[in-house]
Amino acid sequence: MNILNKKLLISFTALMLTVVSPASAEKLRVGMECTYAPFNFKTADGVLSGYDVDVSKGVAEILGLELEYVCQKWDGMIPALLANKFDLIIASMSITDKRKKKIDFSGPYRDSVGQMVARKDLGRDLFDSAGKPDPAAFKGIKVGLERATTYSDWFEQTLPSAKVVLYDSNEALYLDLMNGRTDVIMTNPMKAHLKFLSKDGNDGFELAGPVIDDVDYFGVGVGIGLRQGQEELRDNLTGALKTLIKNGSLKEYALKYFPFQIHNDKWAD
């Protein structure tokens, strides 16, 4: 704490001395949705918390960074990073080839998977006995997805027979599933469980089919996003994440919200 205060003081005086200096290298702004429980969200008293927030703090401590948080809607996340509204994305963003064309990623710090949630009385077997989705069964089914997510890519390519409806937020997905405007949604199963299925009055819905972890679509996992051309920062972030895996911090963060860890220990190698 003392060191941090000292650092704050030093950077503050430095800022005072060079009034028009560019932002000090140690201070980085972090973009996240702030509404994506339990990964990044504000508690009832307005404190930002969650797994992503814990990871960002763990990384900041190792690298001696000072962080400032910026709340940003999901579909504007990458444009905002490119427009220099913040410097890092720590918002449960999966590492994908498509996104890598625009931005860089650190190594992964969380699993990235999807699973469907359906009405129990849907009366159709969406998956065959081997657990593969059956395109014929999806014909005419209304599927709610979040705009520009890995889930919507996966659905368009894998099950084009379904009628996809795109939403702007995760809450809207659940609302319209409850309201009967959609039959099925696909999202992160950890989140669907915490935010929807475990809540009272939602026992008419269930996780449908197996966890889908198609690496081609969902990538190797969730990483920290940053603008391209900052190799040193990227490697430092990856190194810090590996340290967090090795010293058990990452598991500790996960256990606050889930009964299991949500990363792969091999990522530290």
Partner: protein, 229 residues
């Protein structure tokens, strides 16, 4: 930053494929809104409080709240009630398109009824007195004297409202409708190029507005043909 022309050329046809939906939203809610406005106008012009007070309350509510809030209440709020989901209105309210039309109609109806009332009240009293001196009844005066003059007076503010209705249709994209705005937002979310896409979209809306303006200009000329100097 570079301006990606090929990206614009690629996405223009995609965005234009939503033009039909934007048009449908505009025309349907415009026509229904005008009908609603007319009913509200008649309610307000009667001197009976049980007609005019509800109309005033309606206008106050729909002018006093943001249209985005109205869209969200209708789309996300109403289905929370079991009774609504089981009512005969559910087939309409289940569809985002029905919800958007309903919200836009109610909103534009409230505004337009005030435009119409202003136009009716602006008609010179002397003309109406002359009309009654000639033995025209109240209804005849309204049809033959007030209406043609009020229409002419109402055109400029009404065209204003149609243009703002056109732009309000873009809000329908927030409730999953794939109009031009909805398509643009999805392209932006995929290409991360908000600048190019939204600028092109803005130009499309401006071209649209130009034609609406021109159309109302001709209509105004036509209605004023007797007072030309």
């Amino acid at each position: 930053m570079s301006f990606d022309i090929t990206l614009i050329l690629d996405s223009l046809p995609k965005m234009l494929s939503g033009i039909g939906l934007t048009f449908q939203l505009l025309i349907l809610s415009g026509v229904l809104g005008l009908l609603l406005a007319f009913v509200l106008l008649l309610m307000r012009l009667t001197e009976k409080w049980y007609f005019s007070v509800p109309a005033q309350v309606f206008i106050y509510v729909f002018r006093g709240t943001p249209i985005l809030v109205q869209i969200f209440i209708i789309y996300y709020g109403l289905p929370q009630f079991e009774a609504i989901r089981e009512s005969i209105f559910w087939p309409i309210l289940r569809e985002p398109f029905g919800c958007a039309i309903l919200a836009l109609t109610l909103n534009t109806g409230a505004y337009v009824s005030e435009i119409l009332r202003g136009a009716v009240l602006a008609v010179d009293r002397g003309l109406l007195e002359a009309g009654s001196a000639l033995g025209l009844s109240r209804n005849q005066r309204f049809i033959y004297i007030t209406s043609p003059l009020a229409i002419r007076l109402g055109i400029p503010p009404y065209s204003n409202d149609v243009i703002s209705l056109l732009k309000s249709t873009a809000l329908a994209s927030t409730i999953t409708i794939f109009d031009m705005m909805g398509i643009a937002r999805t392209i932006v979310a995929e290409t991360y190029a908000p600048y190019e896409i939204f600028i092109s979209l803005a130009i499309i809306y401006m071209i649209f507005t130009f034609f609406i303006q021109k159309g109302f200009g001709y209509f105004e000329n036509f209605m004023s043909r007797h007072v030309k100097k």
